[in-house]
Symmetry: C2
Subunit: 499 residues, 2 copies
C-alpha cells in the first residue's frame, strides 16, 4: 500500500543522524534499527496489498494512518537510545508525534548534550523537517481535493492537481514544493551559520545552524537548547523571525513568485491578513513591554526590556511571529510576562499561520472568511434582498466552502473546549493544580500544533507533569489537529465503513 | 414613535409596586415618579414623531433602543428610593438592565427586607416579568422576520406573522403569547402559595409566591431572598423545577397544545433535545453529588447530600434546569461544589433554553442544527455527490439559515472570548484577582442572560466587586445578548445609516 511506500522512502532519513553519530563518536545503533524496521515494515505493507486506486474514501484512511504509523516507528531511536525521560514508551510516542506533526511540545526533562546524544537531538529535529514535507503535500495537494474543513479554499492559489490524477501530477506538485522547502532550509542554514562566521552569533555552531534550520521551515519549534532561542544573539533572533515569517506563508505563493509572478504574493488577501495580524499583535506587545507593564518580573538572564526599544520590539515580534506561525520557539521565557500580556499571546494561538504552509491551527484564511461572513450577515440583515458573495483575492468563494469553514471552526472550538475540561479535570485528579489558563494553553498548544503554552507548559518548561492518559490524549490532539481534524473524524464515522 | 407607545403602556406597571408599598406602609413615591416620567416621556416621544412605517431597517433601531431606554427609565425607583448599594447610578442601571433582560445578575449588597423595602424588591421582580413579555414577542414575532442569527428557524413552529403586517397580526400573536405567559404565572403563584397553605412550604408566604412566580416564567432568577431558593422547602424546589422547565420551552408549542395539537410538543426536535440535554447533565451531576466526589466542602446549612438520593437528585436537577433554562435560581451554593462539577455547570451555560421562550443564551435549536451540520460535513466528505439537507422536526432548514446560525454562534464565541479577556484584565487592574474560570463565568452569565456565574459571582454572591467600567460593559453584554447580538450590531454598522 501507499503507507508501505512512504515508510520505504523515509528509511533513508535515519542515515542523517547516523552520520551525526559517527561524526561525534556516538552509537549509530538507534538509527540503523529504525532504518531496518522501516525497510522491513514498508516492504511487508507494500507486498501485503498492492497499490489500490487511491479514491476519495481511501485517501482519508491513508492520510490518517500514515500520520499514526510513522510517528510510532519514529519512537524507535528514543527507545533504543534509552536516554532520559523520553526512553519510556508513552513519552517517546509523545515526542515523536510532536515531531512529525511539527507541534514542538516536549517531554524531555533535560535538554542538553549531557542528557542526550547529539545524534538523538538531531533526529528529534529531523522528525519535524520530515513532518513538514508531508504536511506541505497534504495541505496543498491532498486536503483541498478532499474538501476537508473548507480546505478547497487553500487550492485557489495552488498549482492544481486532482486526486484522480494522483500520479504524476501530485508528484510534480510535491517536487516543486519540496524544492522551495529545501531551498529555504538551506538558506536558513547558511544565514544562521553565516552570522556565526561573521562573529555576531557566537553560540551558533554548524550543528546548531542545521538543527534549527530543520525546525524553522516546518514551523516546528524543537531546539537542542533548553532555553530555545534565548541562547542566541539578537542577530540570530532577527534572522529566525524572518525565516519563521517565510515558513508561515503559503508556499504556493513562492512558487508563483519564482515563476515570475511575485505580485500574487502582495495581492493575496491571506498574506496581507497574516502580516497585518502579526503587526497588530507585535505592536501591542512591544508597547506593553517597552512601558514595563507587560512584565510581571524582570528576567535576570537577558538585557532589561522596559525602555529598550530594540529589545522590547525584538521580544514582542519574536514571540508574536513564533506563536502566529505556530512555530513555538521562544526568545525569552514569557512566563515572566504579566498575566494580561500572556493572555494576548494565548489568544494569538487561535489564529494559526497561512494555508499552504506547514503552520497549524485554524489559519488566517479561515478567520478572513469568517470575518467576511459576519459582516455579510449584518449587511444582509439590513438589505435582505442583496446578493453578496464572499471574495478572496478577487475570486468568489463558493457558499459550500464558506459553510465548511464555519463548521470547521465550530468543530475546532468544540474539541478545544471539551479537551480543556478533560485535561483540567485530569490534572485535578493527579493533584497537578493546573490553572484554567494553563489548561487552555496546553490544549491549544497541542491541538493547534503550536508547541508551548503558558505557565506549567511555558516555553522553557515541558509536558512531563501530565499523567500518561493525558499525554496520550494530547498525542491524539496533535494528530487530529495536524490533519485538519475532519480527515480523522471521517475515518471514525460509521458511514465511512458502509459501502 | 413606537418607543413612546411602549413607555405609555409600561406606565401602568409601577402601579403594582405602588399597591405593595401602600399595603406594607412604605413610600409609593419611587413608583409614582416612574409612572409620571413614563407618561411624560412616552407622550413626548409619541408627539415628536408619529408612527413611521416600521420597516425592516427601522425595526432594528426600535428593538435596540427600546431595550436601552426602558432599562434606563427603570432605574428611577432604585435611585429615588435610595436604598443600599443599588442607589448609585451605575449599580441602578446594572440592576435594571439585568431585570429587563431577565438576566438576574445582581449588585444588591444585601438582599433583605431590612436593607430594602418590600415594594422595591417587588419592582425588581416585576422588571423581569415585563422583560419576559417583551422578549416573547421579540423572539416569536419580530426577530424571525428580521432573519437575525438564523432566528428564521424559530418561526417554524410559531403562529405566523410578517413584519409588514405588524398591526394587527403582531398584536394577535402577542395577545396569545401573553395569555399563555400570564396563565402560567398565575399557575405558579397558586402552586407556590398552595404548597404553603398545605403546610409543606412554611417560608413561602403570598408575597414570596408572587415575587418568585414573576421571575420564574421569564427565566429571570431574581429573588427577594439572599439565599435564593435555598430558603424554601424541597416541595417548593420541585415545583420551581417544573415551572422553570415550562418557562424554557417554546411558548408557540403550548399555543398549539391548547389548540388541540399537543403532539407537536413531543414531535418537536428542539423540545426533545432540550429535555435530553437537561437529563444528561442532571444525571451526571446527581451521580457526582450522590457519590460525594462532586462536593469540595459539605454545606452546613442544608441536609447532607452524599448518599441521600432525593437530595442529590434535587440539587442536581435544580441547578441543571436553572442553568440550562438560563433562569439562574439556586437551591444551594454551588460554590461548595468540586471544581470539576462546577465546570460541568459552566459548560451548560453555553447551551441556552428553547427558542420562542424568554430563555437566553445560544439556545438548543442552534446546537441541534450545528451538530447536524457537523455530521453532514463528515458525511459529505465521504460522499461528495450526496445532497443532504438538514431537517428540523420534519421540515428542511434553508441553507442560508444554517449558515446564519453558524455565523451567530461564531459571533457569540468571539464576543465571549474578547469580553472574558477584557473583564479578566480589568479585574487584574483593580486588584480583584479573578481566576480565569470566574471571568468566564461572569461573561457567559451576562452575555447569555443566565445570571450567576461561579466563584466571586456565584449564586449567593453579587457583581459588586467589579469596577464601574466593567459593570457598564456587562450592561452592554446583557443588552446585546438579550437581543440575539446581531440586532444590535446591525445598528452599529456603517451600512445601516447609508441610504
Ligand atoms: K510548532
Ligand atoms: K436569568
Amino acid at each position: 500500500s501507499f503507507i508501505g511506500r512512504v515508510l520505504k522512502y523515509l528509511s533513508a532519513a535515519p542515515l542523517f543522524p547516523t552520520a551525526v553519530a559517527l561524526l561525534y563518536g556516538e552509537s549509530p545503533l538507534p538509527f540503523l534499527v529504525t532504518t531496518a524496521v522501516m525497510v522491513v515494515l514498508g516492504t511487508a505493507l507494500e507486498r501485503l496489498q498492492p497499490d489500490p486506486d487511491l479514491g476519495h474514501r481511501e485517501a482519508f484512511l491513508f492520510v490518517s494512518l500514515t500520520w499514526l504509523i510513522v510517528p510510532v516507528v519514529g519512537t524507535i531511536p528514543y527507545l533504543v537510545a534509552g536516554q532520559g525521560t523520553v526512553a519510556s514508551p508513552v513519552n517517546a510516542l509523545f515526542e515523536s508525534m510532536s515531531g512529525f506533526t511539527t507541534t514542538g511540545s516536549t517531554v524531555l526533562g533535560e535538554i542538553s548534550f549531557e542528557a542526550h546524544s547529539r545524534s538523538i537531538l538531531m533526529w528529534r529535529q529531523l522528525t519535524q523537517w520530515l513532518g513538514g514535507m508531508g504536511i506541505l503535500v497534504l495541505m496543498v495537494a491532498i486536503l483541498p481535493e478532499l474538501s476537508v474543513g473548507g480546505a478547497q479554499i487553500f487550492r485557489e492559489e495552488a498549482p492544481g492537481v486532482t486526486i484522480d490524477k494522483l500520479t504524476p501530477h501530485i508528484q510534480d506538485t510535491a517536487r516543486a514544493l519540496w524544492a522551495i522547502y529545501a531551498g529555504f532550509t538551506l538558506a536558513a542554514v547558511l544565514t544562521y551559520y553565516g552570522l556565526h562566521l561573521l562573529g555576531v552569533a557566537p553560540n551558533m555552531d554548524f550543528y546548531g545552524a542545521v538543527a534549527h534550520a530543520l525546525t524553522t521551515l516546518p514551523t516546528g519549534g524543537f531546539s537542542p537548547r533548553a532555553r530555545s532561542m534565548e541562547a542566541f544573539s539578537p542577530a540570530i533572533q532577527w534572522a529566525v523571525i524572518l525565516f519563521m515569517v517565510v515558513a508561515g506563508t503559503n508556499f504556493a505563493l513562492f512558487w508563483y513568485g519564482f515563476r515570475g509572478e511575485p505580485r500574487r504574493l502582495l495581492r493575496n488577501d491571506e498574506f496581507r491578513g497574516y502580516l497585518f495580524a502579526m503587526a497588530v499583535v507585535s505592536a501591542l506587545l512591544a508597547g506593553l513591554l517597552f512601558a514595563g507593564v507587560g512584565l510581571a518580573e524582570a528576567p535576570t538572564n537577558i538585557d532589561p526590556i522596559p525602555g529598550n526599544v530594540e529589545n522590547a520590539l525584538r521580544q514582542a515580534v519574536f514571540q508574536t511571529v513564533a506563536i502566529v506561525t505556530t512555530t513555538g520557539y521562544a526568545s525569552m521565557d514569557f512566563n515572566t510576562w504579566d498575566q494580561s500580556t500572556q493572555l494576548v499571546l494565548l489568544l494569538a494561538m487561535f489564529l494559526g499561520g497561512s494555508a499552504g504552509s506547514a503552520a497549524g491551527g485554524i489559519k488566517i484564511v479561515r478567520w478572513y472568511v469568517i470575518q467576511k461572513a459576519m459582516s455579510r450577515e449584518v449587511f444582509q440583515s439590513i438589505h435582505p434582498e442583496a446578493v453578496h458573495p464572499i471574495r478572496l483575492s478577487g475570486n468568489v468563494a463558493e457558499e459550500e466552502t464558506v459553510r465548511s469553514i464555519l463548521v470547521f471552526v465550530m468543530t475546532f472550538f468544540t474539541i478545544f473546549a471539551v479537551s480543556t475540561v478533560l485535561i483540567y479535570v485530569d490534572s485535578l485528579r493527579i493533584g497537578l493544580e493546573l490553572s484554567a489558563i494553563e489548561a487552555v494553553g496546553a490544549t491549544v498548544a497541542t491541538l493547534g500544533n503550536v508547541g508551548p503554552g503558558v505557565g506549567v507548559v511555558g516555553p522553557m518548561n515541558n509536558f512531563l507533569p501530565f499523567s500518561a492518559p493525558a499525554k496520550l490524549y494530547m498525542v491524539f490532539l496533535m494528530w487530529i489537529g495536524r490533519l485538519e481534524i475532519l480527515s480523522v473524524l471521517v475515518v471514525f464515522a460509521p458511514s465511512y465503513w458502509k459501502r
